[in-house]
């Protein structure tokens, strides 16, 4: 949903109203999927990580700490610092790791958290103690398996011969795993299996949605049974949240949960009357003679024989089992939908407070022509009730997405969006089969973003007229609003140059090497600059080598900016809350400086001919 709303606003900003409006239709269509966990109204509960009060029988390997860092080259290890807020598992030779269980149980659940892998570490999150979402140091893996980070771990059948025991695992759609030592973000929407009164399973558990580092990696995956290593051989309506602790060092923070354990309201007793013509609010439909009338089981825009301009007037009952605040929105295509509850129109974006019991519902569907498929439905979200949809099937968008992958080194110029900035208009996105990609801003001689996973989606640019913009597909790491990488400073404390006035900045494009990888060239302050950006061979990030000739003197390079820049070793930095590593390689003897600049930190370094560093993420 998030990416769609970005697309929408982008399109609305840049195009004529025609396209904008058609996109609104598209958005509505998307809003009516199976479930929209983001809209769920259940209060998210943050697990307190001051102590272990949310867990039971905590083993010795688990600790509450204030900070964690990996140590380069040290497998399964963290350096920790005192404090609270971070849950860390540190198994060692003497302290055998063991799994961590919540002291509560859950059924349908939205879970959101940050986690950090130690080098080479292995862990996992078991929903209901039974369905494992794998956590692993999968940094740089190009063909992820179910056993990789973000995979739905395989199930296991001991009766099968060796090599055939594992089955029904699901690899993530793409590997967007970050480096060990960096925080990764995970969002999971899980639906528990359903049982009848006799205890017989009538519906399998589902991973409705799993997002890793902002990228959808699973959607609506049916789990036929528990995965390998589940507690108990059974499946249940509710079970504890479990974190694997016996395989390696892993840390967590910002764990929040939403439980959906309340009963859905039911729409019942639907009676309709059908009239010719579009809905007219001046009509008293109770006095008009309908063309047809009847009852339906499911809300539908197709209740009568009428097909072009018509109005359906529904009456029914919403049987509310759980009192509280609800959001009830109509989804109408090929016409307009209006809902009233208890005789009152629903406004405020569908927000209503409902008592338990029967609430009279009125619904009107006005078919306004013959475009679109007549569709009527409701999206209902309630207290402890995940958004669900009742009504006609949804007609999908007829636009085929246009995807550009980088099975070889691939370059594509486009506009590229930077939040809070606008568009980078002279952007060059460079893709690698190592699944590490970056965007270079030719207006500033800057790498504005890096990402891993799939390369680009160009639907916004190549569908119809397009708006000139492409979108990274994988897990994106932005490197700041565009700024000039090189500047001329009077001294170390001088403010970074914001615009090109007086700099003589002039891009000269790029030259490809034998493997079609670009080196960018430009002039600034009279200097001739060559900026060679390469994806590292292990796919761990990018390296950048900036060479300056005709040096006018006084040049600095700004390598990073962020809320924090931590120096964690010789020439090694962690930027912006452990979002990425920056490793300096060659500064020609110049000393880097971390400094304050208007509320953020900057890493700058004087430029002496040659400068190289890597961004690892």
């Amino acid at each position: 949903m998030k990416s769609m709303s970005i697309l929408l606003s982008m399109v609305l900003r840049s195009k004529s109203n025609f396209f904008g409006r058609s996109m609104i239709g598209l958005l509505c269509a998307c809003g009516a999927g199976l479930a929209i966990p983001q809209q769920a109204m259940a209060q998210a509960k943050q697990l307190p990580l001051q102590d272990f009060s949310s867990f039971k029988d905590v083993g010795k390997s688990w600790q509450i700490v204030g900070d964690v860092n990996t140590e380069q080259g040290k497998a399964n290890a963290f350096k920790t610092a005192g404090g609270t807020g971070i849950l860390v598992n540190l198994p060692g030779k003497k302290v055998h790791g063991q799994d961590l269980f919540s002291n509560f149980e859950h059924g349908d659940l939205d879970l959101e958290l940050d986690y950090m892998m130690a080098e080479g570490a292995n862990s996992g999150i078991y929903l209901q103690g039974r369905y494992e979402l794998q956590l692993l140091d999968s940094w740089g893996v190009t063909s992820p398996k179910p056993g990789d980070n973000g995979g739905i771990y395989e199930r296991w059948d001991d009766s099968k011969p060796e090599g055939k025991k594992g089955y029904q695992g699901y690899a993530p759609r793409q590997n967007v795993s970050k480096a060990p030592g960096l925080w990764q973000h995970l969002k999971v929407s899980f639906q528990a299996p359903r049982f009848d009164v006799a205890g017989k399973k009538i519906e399998n558990a589902k991973m409705l949605r799993v997002e890793l580092n902002g990228v959808l990696i699973h959607e609506n995956i049916e789990l036929m049974g528990a995965t390998r290593g589940a507690i108990g051989g059974n499946e249940v309506a509710s079970g504890p949240l479990r974190i694997q602790g016996d395989h390696g060092a892993v840390a967590f923070k910002n764990i929040s949960l939403k439980q959906f354990d309340k009963q859905r309201p039911e729409l019942t007793g639907l009676e309709f009357k059908a009239y010719k013509g579009r809905y007219n609010r001046d009509n008293d439909y109770t006095k008009l003679k309908p063309e047809a009338a009847g009852t339906v089981k499911t809300l539908t825009a197709n209740a009568s024989h009428l097909s072009q301009e018509y109005t359906l007037v529904y009456k029914g009952t919403l049987n509310v089992k759980e009192a509280g605040e609800y959001t009830i929105e109509t989804n109408a295509q090929g016409g307009q939908g209006i809902i009233t509850l208890d005789g009152k129109p629903v406004s405020n974006r569908g927000r209503v407070t409902l008592p338990a019991g029967n609430v009279p519902v009125g619904l009107i569907y006005s078919r306004s022509g013959d475009w679109g498929n007549p569709t009527l439905g409701l999206n209902i979200t309630g207290p402890g009730i995940r958004t669900f949809y009742v009504g006609d099937v949804i007609t999908p968008d007829d636009t085929d997405p246009i995807i550009v992958d980088a099975s070889a080194n691939t370059i594509l110029r486009s506009f590229s969006d930077v939040p809070g900035y606008g568009k980078v208009t002279h952007a060059v996105s460079v893709g690698s089969p190592l699944q590490v990609h970056y965007t270079y801003d030719l207006d500033h001689g800057m790498v504005v973003q890096v990402w891993r996973g799939s390369f680009l989606e160009t639907t916004p640019m190549w569908h119809d007229r397009g708006n000139g913009t492409s979108r990274p597909q994988g897990a994106l790491q932005r490197l700041g609003k565009p700024f000039f990488t090189l500047g001329k400073l009077a001294n170390e404390q001088a403010t970074w140059v914001a615009d090109s006035t007086g700099s003589g900045y002039r891009p000269k494009g790029y030259v490809l090497d034998e493997q079609d990888r670009p080196t960018f060239n430009y002039f600034i302050f009279g200097a001739t600059v060559s900026d060679k950006v390469r994806v590292t061979e292990n796919g761990h990030g990018i390296s950048r080598e900036i060479s300056v000739s005709n040096d006018p003197g006084g040049l600095y390079a700004k390598l990073a900016e962020g809320a924090q820049i931590e120096s964690i070793g010789k020439d090694l930095y962690l930027v912006d809350g452990k979002a990425y590593f920056l490793q300096l390689q060659e500064t020609s003897g110049a000393k880097p400086i971390v400094r304050d600049a208007a509320g953020v930190k900057e890493l700058i370094v004087p430029v002496r001919g040659k400068l190289s560093y890597s961004i690892l993420f």
Partner: protein, 651 residues
């Protein structure tokens, strides 16, 4: 076909006034396709050729650039099996391509780029920014070119963006949008050349001089071909925002302009801007009138009447002498929306360009954007319609147009004369038909100059043809025309003129002459001028006959019966759809540029409502259609009702 016409002719004979035209039906006149053949270029399956640029290399290879950012070099492009090599990729919507000194040059959205294959592996390895210009990131900021000047310098043009709230208003958000840029041969400097462009998709270098083509839009009543001199202002005010910059060649400001032409920035009660719409029966301005007070303003050398000669004009290309038979030395202009190519012949009168435009060849598979000459004298045609739609409903295409060495009977050109026009033919005319004034029809009209999208034709007047003198060899006809108006478009139609051989009609009977200046000089002496008009003779005869009948027979006038309004068929309204240019964008069954008539019928508008919508369309009712329909109040109510009845018959 022929038989039907003969039969119809028999029935019509006693009634028809224009008896002279009837023998035409006895001999079917050949059509465009009988002289100019459209052929495909075979390309590997899956090659997406949304052509944005075409250029022929010195070795005969064809360079093709695409909107998706690829550059192909096609070896042996006129052979059975051309070979496609991807020379470069990943560029930003390339809308032009040129070859110079061993390198390809192309305009991306944001820069002029030089592509060089230094290691001769068949692929570019140097992607050099020759010159970069700013962009705001609006979708409509396309850039076109380059066209090479004789000195090796480059011309590149840039589209305007559109407003956010005023999404209809072209605006220049950053310098040189809505401008022509002139980049030095070595790329070291850029000289802003001229402004007033809105959507300058077609550039042309003719005899070393720069021309460009424009589309209908706000301030642009119709498309046309402009001669672009340094410091020109060609009509759209958006680019005037930057005339204060030190290197601007003109100083006219937006404020000065707006003081002359009302911007019509009007807000409604909610404080939202109202889109300016055409006002029927208003006092309006015409572009040429503003020349008095805005000397920088340059009107088109040749108007290309919207909907007739294209709706979105593109490449301008000179025909080399020797190519396309009689048309060597003339100019071709492509059109995206109508998937066709027009022919333009210009002359200089009183130091300014003007001239005539004809239809030339339609029927390309997609929108014609680019053209380039093959070494064998055929024409490569590069096509795309993505986002706009076109008469040819394929989304993309690379085709070739070849002449079959037969000369079509056409007006080769029309030249302005002090007292009319001289029409030159490609083949000798049948003198009797050419000396008959009834064979000629001249009208003139022009467009409004206002911030409304497009314009109806206005100030339409008939111009009486007083006499004609046909040359001895039958290749020229000089007509004496009344009511010539400077700056107006004069459509000269020769429905009655026949070829001496085979009695053919003209393949294209109408030329549109933009009369920027009326030449001085001797008027034609009336000696040897034919003033015979077969229509008038016939009418006089008919009147005399009628008078006789009336005298002998009492009139048996039938009382008017209140009949149901007649429902018109396609055949009946077809001439109207052509005349009012409806057919340029609408098809009965399928989406073209605008919705199918069938789709309109489904909306169940009343006939009266359709008439209103013809006069003042509501594009906001048609999401998913990219190009706005212009207001067409010039369609008389009676004709509009006929069209409406036809549309509603499709329900």
């Amino acid at each position: 076909m022929k038989n039907i016409f003969r039969k119809a002719a028999c029935y019509l004979l006693p009634l028809a006034a224009t008896i002279t035209q009837l023998p035409a039906f006895a001999q079917e006149t050949p059509k465009e396709e009988d002289y100019f053949r459209i052929m495909k270029l075979s390309a590997p399956e899956g090659t997406l050729l949304e052509v944005g640029g075409l250029t022929v290399l010195p070795n005969g290879d064809l360079g093709v650039s695409t909107r998706r950012g690829d550059v192909f070099i096609v070896e042996n492009p006129t052979s059975n099996r051309p070979f496609f090599r991807k020379f470069a990729s990943g560029l930003h919507e390339i809308l032009g391509l040129a070859w110079k000194d061993g390198a390809l040059y192309c305009a991306q959205r944001g820069e002029l780029t030089k592509l060089v294959d230094t290691n001769m592996d068949g692929k570019a390895d140097v992607y050099e920014t020759v010159y970069a210009w700013p962009l705001s990131g609006h979708y409509h900021e396309y850039s076109f070119g380059p066209k090479l000047a004789p000195d090796g310098s480059f011309f590149v043009s840039g589209n305007v963006a559109f407003g956010n709230e005023e999404w209809w208003r072209g605006e220049s958000r950053v310098p040189w949008r809505g401008w022509m840029m002139h980049i030095s041969a070595d790329g070291s400097s850029m000289e802003p050349w001229a402004t007033g462009m809105r959507s300058p998709c077609g550039l042309g270098m003719i005899n070393g001089e720069l021309f460009y083509s424009e589309n209908q839009g706000d301030y642009m009543g119709s498309g046309g071909v402009w001669h672009v001199k340094k410091g020109s202002f060609v009509g759209h005010p958006a680019g005037l925002k930057w005339t204060g910059l030190p290197n601007s060649p003109l100083k006219l400001t937006a404020e000065q302009f707006n003081a002359q032409v009302d911007e019509r920035k009007v807000k409604n009660e909610q404080g939202r801007y109202i889109k300016p719409e055409n006002v029927i029966d208003e006092k309006f301005q015409i572009m040429f009138e503003l020349k008095k007070t805005i000397p920088e303003l340059r009107t088109p050398a040749v108007w290309l009447p919207h909907g007739v000669l294209g709706i979105s004009n593109s490449e301008i290309l000179a025909i080399p002498e020797g190519n396309f038979g009689p048309f060597g030395g003339q100019v071709l202009v492509g059109d995206q929306g109508q998937s066709k190519i027009m022919r333009v012949v210009m002359e200089q009168v009183k130091g300014e360009y003007q001239g005539v435009a004809f239809d030339f060849r339609q029927g390309f598979q997609s929108g014609v954007l680019r053209m380039a000459w093959a070494p064998d004298g055929s024409l490569f045609v590069g096509e795309t319609n993505r986002g706009w739609g076109s008469a040819g409903d394929a989304n993309e295409g690379l085709q070739r147009l070849a002449w079959n060495n037969r000369i079509p009977f056409e007006m080769k050109t029309i030249k302005a004369m002090p007292d009319g026009f001289e029409i030159e033919f490609t083949l000798p005319v049948d003198k009797k038909s050419a000396e008959d004034l009834a064979s000629y029809e001249v009208e003139s009209f022009i467009y409004k100059y206002h911030p409304v999208y497009g314009s109806p034709t206005v100030n339409n007047q008939k111009c009486e043809v007083k006499g004609v003198k046909v040359s001895e060899d039958g290749l020229k006809a000089r007509i004496i025309v009344d009511n010539l108006r400077q700056y107006y478009i004069h459509n000269v139609t020769l429905n009655g003129v026949r070829a001496a051989d085979m009695y053919y009609s003209l393949v294209h009977p109408t030329g549109y002459y933009t009369l920027n200046n009326i030449p001085d000089g001797a008027k034609l002496a009336m000696t040897g001028v034919s003033t015979r008009n077969s229509e008038k003779e016939a009418a006089a005869k008919a009147k005399a006959e009628a008078a006789k009948v009336k005298a002998t027979k009492p009139a048996t006038a039938k009382p008017d019966v209140a009949a149901a309004p007649k429902v018109y068929t396609y055949e009946e309204v077809k001439p109207l759809l052509a005349k009012y240019t409806c057919a340029a964008c609408h098809n009965a069954d399928k989406k073209q540029v605008g919705p199918a008539f069938k789709e309109i019928a489904k909306r169940r508008y009343s006939n009266d409502n359709i008439v209103k919508l013809i006069w003042n369309p509501k594009p906001e009712n048609w999401t998913g259609y990219a190009t706005e329909m212009p207001p067409m109040p010039q369609v008389p109510r009676a004709d509009a009702l006929k069209i409406a009845s036809y549309i509603n018959s499709l329900r």
